[in-house]
Amino acid sequence: MTDVLTEVVTPAWLEPVRRAGAERFEQVGFPTTRDEEWRFTPVAPIAQTAWQPAPGVVEGVTRAQLEAFEFGHPEWHTLVFVNGAFSEALSSMDAIPETVRVASLAEALRDGSGNGPADVAVLEAHLGRHAPVEASPFVALNAAAFRDGGFVHVPAGVELERPVHLVFVTTAEAEGTAAQLRNLIVLGRGARAAVVESYVSLAPEGRSFTNVVTEVVADRASWLEHTRLQREAERAYHVGFTHADQQRDSHYRHFSMQMGGALARHNHHVRLNDEAIETLMYGLYLTRGEQLVDNHTAIFHDQPNCNSWEVYKGILDDRSRAVFNGKVFVQPAAQKTDAKQTNRNVLLSPGASVDTKPQLEIFADDVKCTHGATVGFLDPVALFYAKSRGIPAAEAQRLLTYAFAAEVVDEVALEPVRAQLNRLVLARLNGEA
């Protein structure tokens, strides 16, 4: 893996983060299925491959090729990264308000991205401070090796009108390579923004590895709509770790879609650091073939009077597998917590399977916490109902599956993204994508 560690930008203040990551990874190495957190998800195919560093921006990628991944809104603040490196030519950075930063992290680290000391202060305060290297060997590896990613800073009181879209594209040239990506999204007090992360591929047969860590900071009374779309090639490997820290009165709404990857793992941790915080997490995973998609979420209720609401749904076909682990920790101080977690899975094929584990650890007594998990086939009576109206069996199955997905897709706040996701789900169910 040492090759991956080249070409990184490291200001002096970042050195301890890099070092801690490297040391930690040296110490623990890749996880195995003996590790409780990785019990159902063998990462041997990642660990045993001699990945080369991602080649970065290559010739021939055009804006037109990326249109399919946009949401019909090229004017959104769009940062495009090709094979792990920022491409200014493919990005769209018009009309970013003066006080707001939407920039390549590597560039910001290199020169303060023109904003000098102000950027450095934000970076130094937050980069590597929220996703601890102890959280996962992949976070440690990433801390040591990350090269680029999106840096979004919306300062206090600013409402960012246009959504930010971070697009991570893998091309055929990335075959056999690994990209280490790091995103930092910081919202100041009362700031509002929508950020979309897209992991996409121009090489449907490509075999590459993406290891990404996203740190999110939502200061007091901020409002963040955060969407994450993982649509990598179905032979690719994707490991992601997102950590969000929320402060008092903040509102964080997350939607996560996973449909790519031979093996795709996403950890999403959210810490509710103060009172009156709202956290909404929705997820959808669509798998087929031999895919394995794993979602681990953890919500830390540290303080009283907060609400978290989580719904993850899976649709599994062929011999694919899914893992869901949803932890909710309610600390003794976190009285009046209202937390609800749901994981529902539909199997479209008898060969598909799901390991689901809701895990509530509650140390406060005056709380309302519920969870539920289901795995099953489509309801035969509902199928019969649709068929009894003249809708053929295959179409009835598609209709009900689509309806199952729509319940979470409908929660995507940005209409163009929601519409695109609906089209994606339909196309997948029709066998077109």
């Binding site: 019969f384 109902y385 009894s388 109206r389 053929p392 069996a393 179409e395 209709l399 319940e407």
Partner: protein, 261 residues
């Protein structure tokens, strides 16, 4: 239109229909009554092809076609409609989308083109009047969060749009207050046509005050034990079901007595 010959059906190991024969002609309304557990809802569901039941004997001819050979969707395309006793909720699919999909499938089966969405809206507007509803209901998810009465009205709306040759109403009156009952019954009456037929499955006579049957059949223990005119329903209302079952047992010709029973 419909000819049922010695129909037998089971759920699991339990035989529920034990030899039902029944003929329904175009233009007729048949009521099927009977005590709980008599098999009347099973009969309705077997006609529509419910997967929970296995037909173990007999025949069903619908306009000369062997109905048992057809999948549920093909039965619907042939013109059969079951108004469910417990309509299914489909969160995530709008009523309008569902109904248009169904309507287009029936058109496709007849070799017609899909309807223009705007034309469908016009059609809906007209059909909504049958159940005295405004357009708001169409953007709600199918039966999702509907009250019991709304679900039954929605079944009649579907029936109005799909215009089946044979409509089977499975306990459509159960759980309805008097206003909803009136609306539902009026809807069914508005849809009556001389070339179509209706089977009304009900426990109570109440619905038959509104939808007047030509023939009333009484089911008990999986068999039709008595058939008569609409006055039979009134008699049942007055006297209950016990006398019918006793009469049937007393008069039971050997052929109607179950072996070992």
């Amino acid at each position: 239109m419909l000819e049922i010959r010695d129909l037998r059906a089971s759920a699991g190991d339990k035989e529920i229909l034990k030899g039902i024969s029944l003929t329904v002609n175009a233009g007729e309304v048949h009521a099927i009554m009977g005590p709980n557990g008599s098999g009347k809802s099973t009969l309705a569901q077997v006609l529509a092809g419910h997967p929970a039941y296995e037909v173990t004997g007999g025949q069903i001819l619908f306009e000369g076609q062997d109905l048992l050979e057809l999948e549920p969707e093909a039965r619907a395309q042939a013109g059969l409609f079951l108004a469910f006793q417990y309509p299914v909720e489909i969160p995530g699919v709008s009523n309008a989308y569902f109904l248009r999909a169904a309507y287009n499938e029936l058109r496709k089966a007849r070799g017609e083109e899909e309807i223009d969405p705007m034309d469908f809206m016009d059609l809906l507007e007209e059909k909504l009047q049958v159940v005295e509803w405004g357009p708001d209901i169409m953007s709600r998810a199918v039966n999702s969060g509907f009250s019991g009465g709304e679900k039954k009205r929605n079944e009649i709306l579907q029936m109005a749009v799909l215009e089946p040759k044979l409509a089977i109403l499975d306990e459509t009156d159960s759980g309805l207050d008097i206003d909803a009952l009136r609306i539902v019954a009026a809807g069914v009456n508005k849809l009556k046509r001389p070339d179509h037929a209706t089977i009304v499955v009900t426990h109570y006579q109440r619905l038959l005050n509104y939808i007047v049957p030509d023939v009333v059949h009484v089911l008990a223990n999986g068999r039709i034990v008595k058939s008569g005119g609409k006055e039979l329903a009134l008699e049942l209302e007055a006297r209950g079901y016990d006398w019918i079952e006793e009469d049937a047992a007393a008069a039971g010709a050997p052929a109607q007595v179950e072996a070992g029973a």
